[in-house]
């Protein structure tokens, strides 16, 4: 046991002290925050430059009055021109585009409006103009039926639909979107852990083999101790990295207002400007607090470790089998990656439909369950499925570690021979 802890320490500290670890650990959250800020910034500033739009309103739909919420858009009504005649002039007259509204409007189909332009017009501007036309048509229809459009707007219904889930523990409001995001993040973290740290185990093992240090080490410790120490050490590196990321994300979020007050003001304004912003913010907070967080965290931790342990031992066995040839490694890795990727796909569907057949099967099958179960953690998973899934995962880890350890002990001392899956299975099943 003492030796395993020595090995864990070596695996852990040699990696954590590397410059690359520091760089990726620090740069990733900064890049993430930068993206986050950039997206908000871009959506706020609306990205479009000022647009002058000419209107030839043959139907007199707007009654020569038009105002848009989008301050970048300015409109001018053009008289005494036809669609064809103005087509050649609008650009020279300083307009980026012009809208043609034909004389006869069919209020039911509304398909005969055209925005002419030199360059493609940005989608959000198209949406804005479309909304203006629809408003104008609606007002015209309302007036034709003797209704004052302003009064109508005031008295319109504004319904909001909530989904309440009634369980034995009482009624709970459903926050589908929050649950969706939490599921995706948990699933994604497990996926990353399996992929990147699993392959690190593989590289670490094959490095030990090609360096020929494996032979020195296994004359001091059992190959199994070496393998387990490596898997746990590298896993600890992964957990450290995730923890640092979480702390950094919080710190950066707190630090941004101090460094760039403008940015945060804009973000806050954007959120607070509208009533919807406030409501959205509230519902996020409510949503998070309404979710069964203890269950989510404990499920996440269980499947996070279980998934890593299962795949890390398989990757360790592959690393022990290959030598310097990376192509050889890739061939052996491909079938191992398949269930991880399939699991990820099922998970992204399971968040929408947590009780579908593929979600249930995927969350029980041990090679996909760590990821797929994350798609279901915010939903209610029947107890028998949870127990079956967890015990299958634990059993598979034990059985696989036993097999992979046998492959590993043969593999790390075997040189100069290309190994096939068939041979690997032979090693796994032979007696010592």
């Amino acid at each position: 046991m003492n030796k395993i802890s020595l090995i864990i320490q070596r695996e852990y500290f040699t990696r954590v002290r590397k410059k690359m670890f520091l760089i990726t650990t620090l740069v990733v959250p900064i890049v993430m925050i930068a993206f986050y800020v950039l997206i908000i910034f871009l959506s706020k500033s609306d990205s479009s430059e000022k647009q002058r739009i000419a209107i030839i309103d043959d139907a007199n739909l707007f009654n020569e009055k038009i105002t848009s919420a989008n301050k970048n858009l300015t409109f001018q009504f053009i008289q005494n021109e036809t669609e064809q005649s103005f087509l050649k002039k609008f650009n020279a007259a300083g307009f980026q585009s012009f809208l043609f509204i034909p004389h006869s409007i069919d209020a039911t189909t509304n398909k005969n409006f055209v925005l002419h332009s030199e360059k493609a017009v940005n989608l959000s501007i198209m949406d804005d103009i479309e909304a203006l036309i629809n408003d104008a048509i609606r007002s015209r229809v309302l007036i034709a039926n003797g209704i004052n459009p302003v009064e109508f707007e005031k008295k319109s219904a504004n319904a909001q639909l909530d989904n309440i889930i009634d369980t034995e523990n009482g009624a709970q409001k459903s926050f589908t979107e929050i649950a969706y995001i939490i599921s995706l993040i948990c699933g994604f973290l497990i996926y990353i852990m399996m992929m990147s740290y699993g392959t690190q185990v593989m590289r670490g093992v094959s490095e030990e083999k090609t360096n020929r240090i494996a032979e020195v080490i296994v004359s001091s410790v059992k190959p199994f101790e070496l393998m387990v120490g490596k898997i746990i050490g590298i896993g600890a590196v992964g957990i450290t990295q995730f923890l640092i990321w979480i702390v950094l994300l919080f710190l950066l979020q707190a630090a941004i207002p101090m460094i760039y007050p403008d940015v945060t003001n804009q973000i806050n304004n954007a959120a607070l400007e509208s009533k919807e912003g406030v409501m959205a913010l509230n519902s996020v907070l409510q949503g998070v607090s309404a979710l069964p967080m203890l269950k989510i965290v404990s499920f996440f931790l269980f499947y996070f470790m279980g998934g890593y342990l299962l795949y890390a031992s398989i990757f360790a066995a592959i690393g022990s089998v290959v030598s310097e040839d990376h192509q050889e490694a890739q061939q052996l890795v491909a079938p191992v990656l398949m269930p991880i990727i399939v699991g990820f796909v099922i998970m992204s569907k399971a968040v929408d439909n947590p009780n579908s057949t593929e979600a249930v099967v995927g969350s029980i099958f041990p090679f996909t369950s760590p990821i797929v179960m994350m798609g279901r953690i915010t939903a209610d998973v029947p107890l028998w499925q949870t127990i079956l899934s967890m015990s299958l995962l634990v059993a598979t880890i034990i059985i696989f570690t036993w097999f992979t350890a046998k492959v590993y002990r043969t593999g790390i001392l075997m040189y100069g021979k290309k190994v096939s899956w068939k041979e690997i299975f032979k090693w796994a099943f032979k007696k010592n």
Binding site: K3, R10, T14, N211, A214, E215, V216, I217, S219, S220
Partner: protein
């Protein structure tokens, strides 16, 4: 019966390692086929054989990396157990292995701790060895920054740090320049003098003659011979003598010996059966030769091994390079 028991008792006291009918088959070959030999405590033991003879497999069974398919390995008279005995073994494989990116000091410390040393003891021992090999300034260097000879020295240090009673060195001089080879050789003698038993595995015969007390020769998984270097040479001597003479001009005709080789101031002669050395000397004296020297020429291990394995294709490796 009684005699056998008595013998057994003696061997337990004297032998650090005993192999009894050890066998290890791999799917494609018989790597070690029913080999037995003993290694006396405190001796420098040569494990010899061409490449692929089964040396590494034998070593891996002695170090507990492999289990024999059948037969057993005794360490200090007890059945070998990797868990208890690995502390007493230092093993330097032929293919050197160190973590390239790890600092030298930390690496030595790590390997020593894996052998069960406490951190303090390990640090003390590392410092002593580093001073001895003039490596004190290397502590923070990485292995990838070392020359081949330097990393070889480090490998040797990590092998002997924990004061093992059995030190296994697989081709310890390969890749070393003569100066460093000499330093390592001196240390091997030193360690043996201080009571360590050393297994020296090689296919370089001239080193064996210089260093080893006892040898075993394996080829194609089988033991071909074992014994002390002197005994082996005695067994394979061919009654050849070298006689130093002032002049070898005269033709010599005698029934006592035949001339193997004529050198400027000496003759190599092979005595006929039942001819004593005195008779030969008498012959030279009677014929008025002035004799400078007279000595028996023992075969080199190289010659012996070529003779023993010449039927196999692997014998080529033993051809004299000179």
């Amino acid at each position: 019966m009684n005699n056998d028991l008595l013998l057994l008792d003696q061997t337990i006291v004297m032998n650090l390692v005993e192999l009894h009918n050890v066998r290890k088959y791999f799917s494609s070959q018989k790597a070690v086929d029913n080999i037995s030999f003993n290694i006396q405590a405190g001796s420098i033991f040569g494990l010899l054989g061409p490449n692929g003879a089964g040396k590494t497999t034998l070593i891996r069974m002695i170090t507990g990396i492999f289990y024999p398919d059948s037969g057993n390995v005794l360490f200090n008279g007890k059945e070998f157990d990797a868990l208890t005995h690995h502390k007493n073994i230092g093993y330097m494989p032929e293919e050197r292995g160190l973590y390239k990116k790890m600092k030298i000091g930390e690496q030595a410390l790590y390997l020593a701790q894996l052998k069960g040393m406490s951190k303090q003891d390990a640090l003390k021992s590392i410092k002593e060895w580093f001073v001895k090999f003039e490596m004190e300034t290397w502590w923070n260097k990485k292995v990838e920054d070392l020359s081949k000879g330097m990393s070889q020295k480090l490998q040797f240090v990590t092998t002997v740090l924990h004061q093992p009673s059995l030190i296994i060195l697989d081709e310890p001089f390969s890749g070393l320049d003569p100066v460093n080879a000499n330093i390592i050789k001196e240390e091997i003698f030193n360690l043996a003098k201080n009571g360590a038993t050393i297994i020296f595995s090689t296919h370089r015969m001239e080193q064996v003659e210089e260093i080893c007390d006892q040898i075993v020769l394996v080829n194609q998984g089988k033991k071909i011979l074992d014994g002390s270097v002197d005994a082996v040479k005695q067994d394979f001597k061919e009654n050849i003598f070298k006689i130093g003479l002032h002049s070898t001009q005269k033709t010599i005709q005698t029934e006592l010996f035949e001339i193997v080789q004529q050198l400027p101031e000496a003759l190599l002669i092979k005595l006929k059966q039942n001819v004593s050395t005195n008779e030969v000397l008498q012959h030279f004296i009677n014929n008025d030769y002035s004799i400078q020297s007279f000595q028996e020429v023992l075969p080199s291990l190289n010659d012996i091994f070529i003779k023993l394995v010449e039927d196999s294709s692997s014998a080529r490796q033993f051809q004299n390079i000179n």
